[in-house]
């Protein structure tokens, strides 16, 4: 490298085409007369050429930001309702009816036991008191009916909510199914490509092996032919010798 060689900054600017026209002209002229710098530029370009062959693997990405009502964002996951304790979940309609009937029965039993019973330190229960108790029971029955109606209404609302969640889940399942199908398809494609690569390698290996075998066979054949020729030559010599000897006699 000579003292007047161009510096690394200028070389890089030239190689990456990040220099002005005057600078480019200066470097070009220098490269025409300096083998070391020309070699350096060729080396840098060679390395860049090699780098171009490096490709990252293909992967499925597809990130999405999903909007949610409370937190604003979530990375693709939908918001799922928090689990509710079993004792806070609404009872089924049949259980509510059984509970109401049991309560009603208990009320009736309590009312029946009160008839004629003596109150400690007081007077026996009067017939008027019995009549009031029946009215109360009727009111109780009506109130229970109203409560059951309310509970049923709440249950049907809850069922509607569950249906909407189910619909949402079904949508998500369909999306999941689509993604799984896509993954399977990708995997099959990869397997096919992998199979092609391996098949090509096998064919290539088989071809190489075939050539090696052919060469060995050729060599063996040549040796055999050589051996056979030698044997024939000896036999001929022997025959000639015998003929000559017999003619002399």
């Amino acid at each position: 490298m000579k003292a007047d060689c161009i510096d690394v900054d200028a070389l890089l600017g030239y190689v990456y085409d990040e220099c002005g026209p005057a600078e480019r002209l200066r470097v070009t002229r220098h490269l025409q007369s300096c083998f070391a710098c020309a070699n350096e530029v060729a080396g840098l370009r060679g390395a860049r050429h090699e780098l171009a062959g490096w490709t990252p693997p293909e992967v499925a990405l597809g990130f999405r930001i999903a909007q949610t009502s409370t937190s604003g964002v979530s990375n693709g996951a939908e918001r799922v309702p928090a689990p509710v304790a079993w004792w806070r979940q609404p009872l089924p309609a049949w259980a509510q009816a059984v509970a109401a009937t049991a309560l009603f029965g208990l009320g009736m039993a309590a009312g029946g036991r009160g008839q004629g019973a003596e109150v400690p330190g007081g007077t026996p229960t009067s017939p008027k008191a019995t009549a009031v108790s029946a009215t109360d029971l009727t009111r109780l029955e009506e109130r229970l009916g109203q409560e059951i109606a309310k509970i049923r209404a709440a249950t049907s609302a809850s069922t509607a909510s569950t249906a909407s969640v189910r619909a949402s889940n079904e949508g998500r399942d369909a999306e999941l199914l689509r993604q799984v199908t896509q993954l399977i398809r990708d995997s099959e494609n990869r397997q096919q490509e992998s199979f092609s690569v391996r098949a090509a390698q096998l064919v290539r290996d088989a071809e190489i092996q075939r050539r090696v075998d052919m060469a060995q066979m050729q060599q063996t054949l040549t040796q055999v032919q050589g051996t056979t020729g030698e044997e024939v030559r000896r036999q001929r010599e022997m025959l000639n010798y015998l003929v000559n000897v017999s003619q002399r006699r």
Binding site: V8, L12, Y16, L44, E50, L51, F63, R64, I65
Partner: protein, 198 residues
């Protein structure tokens, strides 16, 4: 209609999540490629890529548009890569590509590429990956940003937070080492083919 990055950022900042998803679609491949080449691990590169977009989304309010959106994304991704490398310093990534399943690269085959070409390209890709993994992180990153993301020296300097001359030095030293390593690992090439200053 195709929106520019700046328009999509503005819409995202006003609460349009779908606009941000368009930005993700536009930039996820380059960011993933950057992360993969810097850290050399497929799954971790995916994680870095995803985290980059999450952080960008959460930090949209703080993005004032002084720089290009892509530069901002690259900066986030590079910071995450740097964190990853710090965490994994005990296991140098130069050991990683050895057991790379070469068949995985087959998925990159172009429609007109023959299997022989693919095998050759696969081998070359592995050799380059190994050589790159041996470079110091700063040199590797500078080369990646220059070669695969087409950034100018100044843009790399801004991203790496160093002077312009440092970027050029990193590039030159990295390319020189790479050139030597590639020549050694591929004897057919020979040092002369890749040059070398006398």
């Amino acid at each position: 209609m195709t929106w520019t990055d700046e328009e999509l950022v503005a819409r995202s900042r006003s609460g349009d999540v779908e606009s941000f998803n368009q930005l993700i679609t536009r930039w996820e491949r380059p960011i993933y490629a950057l992360a993969y080449r810097v850290i050399g691990q497929e799954e971790d590169a995916r994680d870095v890529c995803q985290e980059t977009f999450l952080r960008a989304f959460r930090g949209l309010a703080g993005f004032k548009g002084q720089a290009k959106f892509s530069s901002w994304l690259y900066r986030i991704a590079l910071n995450l890569c740097r964190d990853w490398i710090r965490r994994r310093r005990r296991t140098p990534i130069s050991a990683l590509p050895e057991d790379v399943e070469l068949e995985d690269l087959a998925s990159n085959a172009g429609p007109s590429e023959s299997v022989e070409d693919l095998v050759a390209r696969r081998e070359l890709s592995g050799v380059v990956e190994m050589a790159m993994a041996r470079l110091p992180e700063e040199q590797r990153t500078a080369i990646i940003l220059k070669e695969y993301h087409g950034m100018t020296f100044q843009e790399i300097a801004d991203l790496q937070g160093c002077p312009l001359s440092t970027v050029k030095t990193r590039l030159y030293q990295g390319l020189s080492v790479l050139r030597r390593d590639l020549a050694e690992s591929r004897p057919g090439i020979g040092p002369g083919a890749l040059g070398g200053r006398a």
